[in-house]
């Protein structure tokens, strides 16, 4: 059982990273960004191509430092790809509507359209079949604790996710950009009167979420391979995580992801049906909405991270 718990925690870290993108955009625009799954997918493809053209199908690097270099550069490239796609989405699917002050329904439809466009474009240009990714390290069980196996992946993901999430937290709560994001989330009109460039702040919110989504895509790619529809499921679960933690709440999204992972994976120990995990996650989403719609830590639309 502890093994499933461990699995859940590390799957949950990925959800946390993706959930940050949802929660930031929801905080600023009050909109669910349906195209966020494609940010993750783009990150995954960028990671694939980076590893494919550097490592290729050749031998896995056996030096720790080389592995670390691959991972750091890979995360940066994937994150950058995610950032670019997120900004493109904001530019073409959101900004024209915002300029016209369109109703909310229009944003959701336009985002889902952008999502399907990007997904099919990647499928068309890079083939429609799933593919494995070149590995920057060999996966093996590093140590076992109370029956829970901690593999190399888990450790890499843990370290990377913690570093990235701490960075985001600092960026949102300490920097000038973060202050602008929080100001716009609180009251866009007043913020613009105070000299905040609202359009640029919204774009930077998308960029920040996009970087995390792209980085998460890198880990999904080395763990499960790539596929043009790879973003859908993690993104859906990540939204659940964001709601679980309290939407608009940056730390809530981080905790929500891990909690969701644990709650999703642990019951498999008793039921033994892996496909049940999605059913459980979905039931959790409906139950939260029914009993505690503000999430675990409470919604914080615009208050300090």
């Amino acid at each position: 059982m502890f093994n499933y718990l461990v699995q859940g925690i590390f799957a949950g870290l990925i959800f946390s990273m993706v959930a940050l993108g949802y929660t930031l955009v929801y905080g600023v625009l009050r909109l669910i960004n349906f195209a966020h799954s494609e940010v993750l997918m783009t990150g995954g493809f960028a990671g694939y191509f980076f590893l494919h053209y550097t490592i290729g199908s050749g031998s896995v690097p056996n030096s720790l430092w080389v592995t670390m270099l691959y991972i750091v550069v890979g995360v940066l490239i994937s994150g950058l790809a995610g950032t670019i796609v997120a900004i493109i989405i904001e530019r073409f699917a959101y900004r024209p509507l915002r300029r016209r002050n369109a109703p909310k329904l229009a944003y959701l439809i336009s985002a889902i359209g952008a999502s399907y466009f990007l997904l099919s474009l990647f499928g068309k240009e890079f083939g429609r079949y799933p593919s494995g990714t070149s590995q920057p390290f060999t996966d093996h069980v590093v140590f076992t604790l109370w029956g829970g196996q901690f593999t190399m992946y888990d450790i890499v993901i843990l370290v990377a996710a913690v570093i990235l999430m701490v960075t985001v937290d600092v960026v949102v709560s300490r920097t000038k950009m973060g202050r602008a994001i929080r100001a716009v989330a609180q009251d866009a009109e007043t913020a613009s009167l105070m000299g905040v460039n609202v359009n640029r702040t919204i774009a930077s919110t998308f960029a920040l979420g996009g970087f995390m989504g792209g980085a998460a895509g890198f880990f999904v790619a080395i763990n499960q391979g790539i596929y043009f529809g790879m973003g859908f499921k993690p993104a859906l679960l990540a939204f659940t995580a964001a709601v679980l933690g309290g939407i608009g709440n940056v730390r809530g999204a981080m905790i929500g992801g891990v909690v969701l992972g644990i709650v999703m994976f642990t019951p498999i120990y008793w039921f033994g049906q892996p496909w049940l995990e999605e059913v459980i996650a979905f039931s959790i989403l409906v139950l939260i909405l029914l009993f505690r719609p503000t999430g675990l830590l409470g919604e914080r639309l615009g208050r300090s991270a």
Binding site: F49, S110, G113, S120, K124, D187, L236, F282, T294
Partner: protein
Amino acid sequence: MTPPGPQVRKWYQSLNAEDARRMTTAAGGGIVLAVMTGPDGSLTQPLYGFQQSVLTAHVIGYLLFGLVIGCLLTYRAKVKDGTWRRVRTAPKRTLVERLTSIKSALQRGMLAGSGLLSAVIAIVVADFTGPVARNKMSWHVLGHQFLYTRTYGYLILAIALWFAVVNQIFHLTNLRIQSLPRTVVAAGALLSILVFSLTSDPFLPARFGWKALNPSANNSLFHHWTTYLWLILGALGTASYLFKRRSSPKIAAPRRSRTLVVTPSMRILTYVAAGFLVYEAPKYLSLYWQISLYQQIGVFCLLAIGLNIVVGFAGLLDLGYVAFYALGAYVTAYFSGGLPLQPPFHLNSFLVIPFAVVIAMLAGVLLGLPTLRLRGDYLAIVTLGFGEIIYVLANDWVTVTGGSAGTGTISGFSVNLLGIHYVWNPSNPLSYYYLMIGILIPAIFLFDFLNHSKVGRSWAAIREDEVAAQSLGINALKYKVMAFSMGASTAGVAGVFTAVKVGVLFPNSFVLSLSITILVLVIFGGMGSILGVLIGAIFLQWLPSYLTFHSYFGYQQTDLYLYIGALLVIMMIFRPQGLIPSRRRRREILDSEAGLGSADSLGPITQEQPS
């Protein structure tokens, strides 16, 4: 004589950065279109698709298309804001006078240039729609186009286009040349449409034999319904042109209202004509189109008008609509004993319909109540999750649904009542078609009635201002859940119809992206307008089949969602109310853009913070 004014600026001097942006976007759109229609790439050759579509001649036609669209958009915007004006002060002259009066080299150059441009456009269009879909624009293939008579149809179109271009240029440059006489334009349009309908068919060489005009021949022109389509379109276009010109007043008069006054006799006549068409026309179609008329068009019309209740009437967003469709289909399978889980009793498929309605409705209420209580936009993602769950259950819960191997056979429709015995045979698609019409028409009238009843007015009130509606005693939650579950039950009925016709169900026919297909049907025609949704659904379901059938434009079925996604974004940016909008919905969207009320019931964009 130039009109007196303080500053007479040339037309190009009024272009600004906004126009440059518009042109860049349009040209970029053309390049994206080239990528969309280009060949596929693969992981081993990731740049192949881009190279073959952007770095080859393939891109030229699309770039040209983008630039033309950009010019049109700029022209429209400029005329709209009054920067450019059409000047019509010249005395009336005949065509001959006009053509002989063109003297200067500039004018002749413009004439020749525009004529050349339109001829090139025509040949490019002929090329792109021609039988050789790949390797476009090579000189060899271009030359080949002249072997096909269809090219001449496009050339005729080009001449019409040229006249239009010439007219526009002269208006633009204030050369004071009147537009052509009505009769000439009308005759020209009719003639070119006739030739176009004769020639636009890909199986053309046979069309100009004596057989083509012989009504009894198998390959006759009159057996091909595209002929009628083109003729009707041409007649409509000509008629609208004629009426438009005739009504343009010489003196300042109040603008003629564009709304058509519908008398009762006209309405009845329209119904009779439509009924006749719906009853009679499918008999002349080939088996392929008869099947797709039920499977692709009929079922999806039902689904679309169901989703229209959710999106159009109630202003909510349902992205997992296909889940209810799947529920209806699997309930049918259950009651025919097609699932591993055996039912207590077997039911005739007709009697399954009420079960499917009730079950889908219950699912809708269970899903809608907790979600809609809170925030409308959560419904979108909850339904997305629900759609995925239903797919996972159908695919993996083998002991109940049969899993990915599919269900057992499902019994078809049959009647054995009061001495009437009739069995709907799957090999006769028309019998199913008429059954579908039998349920579609009552559904249309029911939903239309509902929209104009108290329920519909409540939906409109909630859409436009939820707080005000609630203060008037309208239970918003009740009406939202009602709309959601009614949409769901419609999908359930559509599921029954599909299951019965297909006979065996596979989870893969209920993938989530199908919901997006249905959503685009609703959005394209115009959410909230039943007529618009129906026309949009028929058109958008017909088009991919037609394109696949004739492999026009290098279209591939696998790229469907590429086009659907792009269409959704473009519709939302340029025309969120749809092509044939409901008047009320259109006004709501425009009002909400101006800051008056809202146009959906997803909750206000700026929300009070929970403390």
